[in-house]
């Protein structure tokens, strides 16, 4: 039997039953690899259910830093008989299957290595409580893997101690379960596995966290004081992260009172209504939601756009349409956010690609929204939001000040002869706003979503309304200078073919570009990080004969957005679309591109096509 052999490059997958406590053990295993100095990307593939259905956890470890999802499993830990058939079929030839051999099985695959560990029997012999037995099974396989893959056992013991800090009684039995698995493997499974982890220092200065945790933290750093939200997967944990960090950093030590408000609203309409109300008063506020919530919020988004009230909306995108695939990932709300609401509306979008950017863009979004007095969407997705990513540590410059935009103080108003809420004084389309309660006689106005003139007075004069709409557009057209610029993979463009991508596709991109280069198709790549698009984006498209647009949706929404916003020949774009709900893989991108390029002109060699 051939055995797959590799060091620090592999994909391991855990097939579990949801509600069995496996996720925390699997996360611990991922962190064990991370603490061994190897970049990892764990991905939780879970059902929209609480208990009893199949759930998977994939971990890719890569010292090359290739952290996109990869199809084909090198090592499968199969803990769920319901999904054995599908799980076993996924294993690469020469790969490994570890299963609970308390009940022996035939798997009918001659080309894989089967590793038997009687997890249940071991736990039944050792632990009395039935629930404990179930939970500890997970740690027993972690212990066995620690031996099989040569990951230092001490790392896991340390992780257990950290996890149960404050509940010290639980440390000993957890360590015991870990040791049981380790010792069983040491005794019976010597040389059973040639996939190994060798200690490196590639994760120094890195953290392992998810985008929602980072986004909630970014809101605290960005000065948000009000979070109004409604539970919806996969955005819920962003709101909860905000609360968690506020509890740490925003409770007044003397009074015990909160320098924040956290409101679970009755629905998404109320969530955004509250966020808009707070921002109207000058308190930075946000809401977090996903596709269906965006649909519900759109009327309010139009109000904030037209009445020019800042508000930050996190959309952690999931599989649509309708209820869709609530626990799977997609980038399919590009258009519903860019043009959310009736009438002529366009919105600023920030598109982070990893947790670090989720932190940074969250904090920046409040400055941008205050500066432009308009809604700002932060478009993350389930893959970034809910999965842990290996990314650089968060950074903060203490000299940084919030940009609260054009807000008039009492003194400002005292010095002014006259003031119009929607008057374009500076020629940038951005008017000056006042906050309620600022001045006893000056600055009060009536905020409204109906047509209004420069002095916020209701008008039905078409010319005045058209003038106002044009001014708002001007504001939008100048917005890109406040937004994150695109990022290029190459220093200088070298190919006639370009590739545009965004968001969580980042994880797969470097690997894909390397694959394409190796196959003789080097491509220039640009990652979009915001909308409206800046000149750099249009220049990149201009500079290339054709441009691949990689998206995780069916309808090529980013392409539609670019075609409607720019003066581009549609023929120039070639879409690469992944919309099965699983994070896009490098193989999918590379194979799609190679196939398209080969199809285009089969008579030419790859070099000639490029």
């Amino acid at each position: 039997m051939s055995k797959l052999a590799s060091i620090n490059e592999f994909v391991i997958k855990f097939a579990n039953v949801n509600g069995s406590g496996s996720a925390s053990a699997n996360q611990m295993f991922a962190k064990g690899i991370f603490r061994s100095g190897i970049p990892v990307s764990p991905k939780n593939i879970f059902p929209s259910n609480i208990q009893g259905l199949p759930t998977w956890f994939e971990i890719r470890a890569s010292e090359k830093g290739y952290l996109g999802r990869k199809a084909g499993i090198d090592f499968m830990v199969a803990m769920n008989p319901q999904s054995y058939i599908q799980d076993v079929a996924e294993i690469n030839p020469g790969g490994y299957l570890l299963y609970d051999s308390s009940w022996k099985r035939e798997f009918h695959r001659e080309d894989i290595n089967i590793i038997e560990v009687p997890l249940t029997s071991l736990c039944v012999d050792e632990f009395q409580n039935p629930k404990t037995r179930l939970l500890f099974k997970n740690l027993v396989y972690v212990g066995a893997l620690s031996y099989l893959m040569s990951i230092k056992k001490d790392i896991f013991i340390e992780l257990i101690e950290e996890q149960f800090k404050g509940k010290e009684k639980l440390i000993a039995p957890n360590v015991q379960a870990l040791e049981m698995g380790f010792n069983y493997a040491k005794k019976y499974l010597v040389d059973a596995c040639d996939i190994k982890v060798n200690q490196r220092n590639l994760t120094d200065g890195m953290i392992l966290t998810n985008g929602n945790n980072a986004g909630g933290l970014g809101c605290v750093y960005g000065g948000a004081t009000v979070c109004a939200w409604y539970p919806i997967t996969p955005s819920t944990s962003l709101a909860e992260s905000y609360k968690k960090y506020c509890d740490q950093f925003r409770v007044d030590e003397k009074t015990g009172k909160n320098k924040f408000a956290f409101v679970q609203a009755e629905d998404e309409l109320a969530s955004i209504g509250m966020a808009i109300g707070a921002n109207w008063n000058g308190a930075r506020a946000f809401t977090a939601t996903s596709g269906p919530g965006i649909s519900l919020m759109t009327e309010f988004v139009g109000l904030a756009y037209f009445a020019e009230i800042p508000v930050v909306i996190f959309n952690i995108q999931r599989g649509g349409p309708s209820t869709g695939m609530p626990t799977r990932t997609q980038q399919s709300d590009i258009l519903s956010c860019a043009y959310a609401s009736h009438g002529d509306t366009k919105h600023v979008m920030l598109i982070p690609s990893d947790p670090k950017e989720c932190f940074e863009f969250a904090a920046e979004s409040f400055d941008i929204s205050d500066r432009l007095q308009t809604p700002v969407f932060v478009l993350s997705d389930l893959d970034i939001g809910m999965n842990d990513w290996t990314c650089p540590e968060f950074e903060w410059d203490d000299a940084r000040e919030f940009d609260r935009g054009k807000v008039l103080s009492k003194d400002d108003l005292d010095k002014m002869e006259s003031w119009g809420r929607y008057l374009d004084v500076d020629g940038d389309g951005i008017p000056f706003r006042t906050l309620p309660g600022t001045h006893p006689e000056k600055g009060a106005y009536f905020t409204r979503g109906s047509s209004h003139d420069e002095y916020a007075r209701y008008v039905e004069d078409g010319e005045v309304n058209a003038r106002n709409l044009s001014r708002i557009l001007k504001k939008f057209e100048g917005a890109d200078k406040f937004l994150p610029k695109p990022i290029f993979k190459q220093d200088i463009n070298a190919s006639s073919k370009g590739l545009i991508y965004f968001g969580s596709t980042e994880a797969a991109m470097q690997e894909s570009l390397d694959q394409l280069s190796a196959s003789g198709f080097p491509i220039d790549a640009m990652r979009i990080r915001s909308f409206p698009f800046s000149a750099e984006v249009w220049d990149f498209i201009d500079q290339h004969e054709s441009v691949f647009l990689v998206e995780q949706n069916r309808d090529a929404q980013m392409k539609t957005l670019m075609l409607s916003e720019g003066n581009i020949n549609p023929e120039k774009f070639i879409s690469v679309l992944c919309f099965d709900g699983a994070p896009i893989t490098a193989d999918f991108i590379s194979e799609s591109i190679i196939e398209i390029m080969s199809d285009k002109d089969t008579s030419k060699t790859a070099e000639e096509i490029i």
Partner: protein, 351 residues
């Protein structure tokens, strides 16, 4: 021209309040509602109440939804910021505004379509949260701005202007608010300024959710024979349960307490609400009795008005959430941003 500015000149000897302001200083722009609209009387009552209480207009925020009622905040308190939001969603905007700055006085102005129809969910949750707001419903039983459709507060059997009979039972917003835990619930009639002004004053001084459901006839679409929300019908069927006298903080309380007739209720800031009960059976501190009385009145075709229910011990939303006394919109960058040292600790917890 859809916006009409009022001339600011006025008689030099007009009476002034403690802030040195006249009633005219509390006015807004000229109303564009129909002549005789009940809503204009309510605007006048709001002006009167704010003048009497010597409130600073700039410390008031007026919020509304959509509809005739929701236009009316333009017609009072020019120096107060206003927010005409989206249909039925004023409560959430007011909730957010209140979280941003709980020091302002929030006046919510809505109608029966805006509150009992499209916005009933938000209304209920604002009451449940004990949002600190004076929530005025200008209730005329009809969708005036879209020309006379029945609203959800329209009584069963009441006839439209075109003779059509309403076949559905009405929603009683006051009874609903009491059941949802609102701390202050009153009902009044736009034509009864003597009752309405003290009720408004008390509501504005109450900390918590105070609803005043004001029957406000629509002269154009719902003021005919056969309508149960016409001026004539309400005058005939109005049954007041209490008469209010509002005594602001610092003034001597002159009312003498007499068993069964008068009750003094202290409000949060020390002001006193003196309540003269017009019915011996009625007790506005008794939630069950209040709901029961409303149900009975409805059965008998009567409209109970006055202060229907009050719970002076309620905590408002900001208190429930344990929000700092300093309004959230007044904290500095330094007070809000934890800084790089704390971020280093967060990083350490994630590697």
């Amino acid at each position: 021209m859809t916006y009409i500015v009022k001339p600011i000149n006025h008689h030099p000897n007009l009476e002034k309040n403690a802030l040195g302001l006249t009633r005219r200083d509390y006015e807004g722009t000229i109303s564009t509602l129909c002549a005789g609209c009940g809503h204009d009387s309510i605007s006048a009552a709001v002006i009167e109440a704010c003048y009497d209480l010597s409130l600073a207009s700039d410390q008031i925020a007026k919020l509304s939804g959509i509809g005739c009622s929701s236009k009316s905040p333009s017609y009072f308190l020019n120096q107060a910021h206003g927010f005409n939001s989206v249909h039925g969603r004023m409560p959430s905007v007011a909730t957010g505004a209140n979280l941003g700055n709980q020091d302002l006085l929030y006046l919510g102005v809505s109608g029966d379509g805006d509150t009992a129809g499209i916005g009933i969910g938000q209304f209920m949750h604002a009451a449940r949260r004990q949002l600190n707001i004076t929530y005025i419903v200008e209730n005329n039983g009809t969708y005036g701005l879209t020309k006379g459709q029945f609203s959800a507060t329209n009584d069963q059997g009441s006839k439209s202007k075109y003779g059509e009979e309403n076949v559905l039972a009405p929603i009683d917003l006051a009874a609903m608010a009491i059941q949802l835990g609102a701390g202050f619930v009153g009902r009044s009639f736009s034509g009864d300024k003597d009752q309405l002004v003290p009720l408004l004053k008390a509501a504005m001084k109450f900390k918590g959710f105070s609803l005043i459901d004001i029957i406000s006839p629509c002269v154009t679409f719902n003021n005919h024979v056969g309508s149960t929300k016409s001026y004539d019908h309400i005058r005939e069927h109005n049954e007041s349960v209490s008469s209010l006298d509002f005594v602001p903080i610092g003034q001597e309380i002159k009312t003498s307490y007499k068993e069964g007739s008068k009750v003094d209720l202290p409000l949060h800031d020390g002001a006193i609400l003196t309540l003269e009960k017009l019915s011996k059976k009625y007790n506005p501190l008794d939630k069950g009795l209040a709901v029961q009385s409303l149900n009975e009145a409805e059965k008998n075709g009567k409209v109970l008005t006055g202060l229907l229910y009050i719970n002076p011990e309620i905590k408002d939303h900001a208190e429930i959430l344990n929000i700092a006394d300093t309004p959230l919109n007044q904290f500095s960058d330094k007070e809000l941003c934890p800084g790089s040292n704390k971020l280093a600790k967060v990083n350490a917890s994630l590697n």
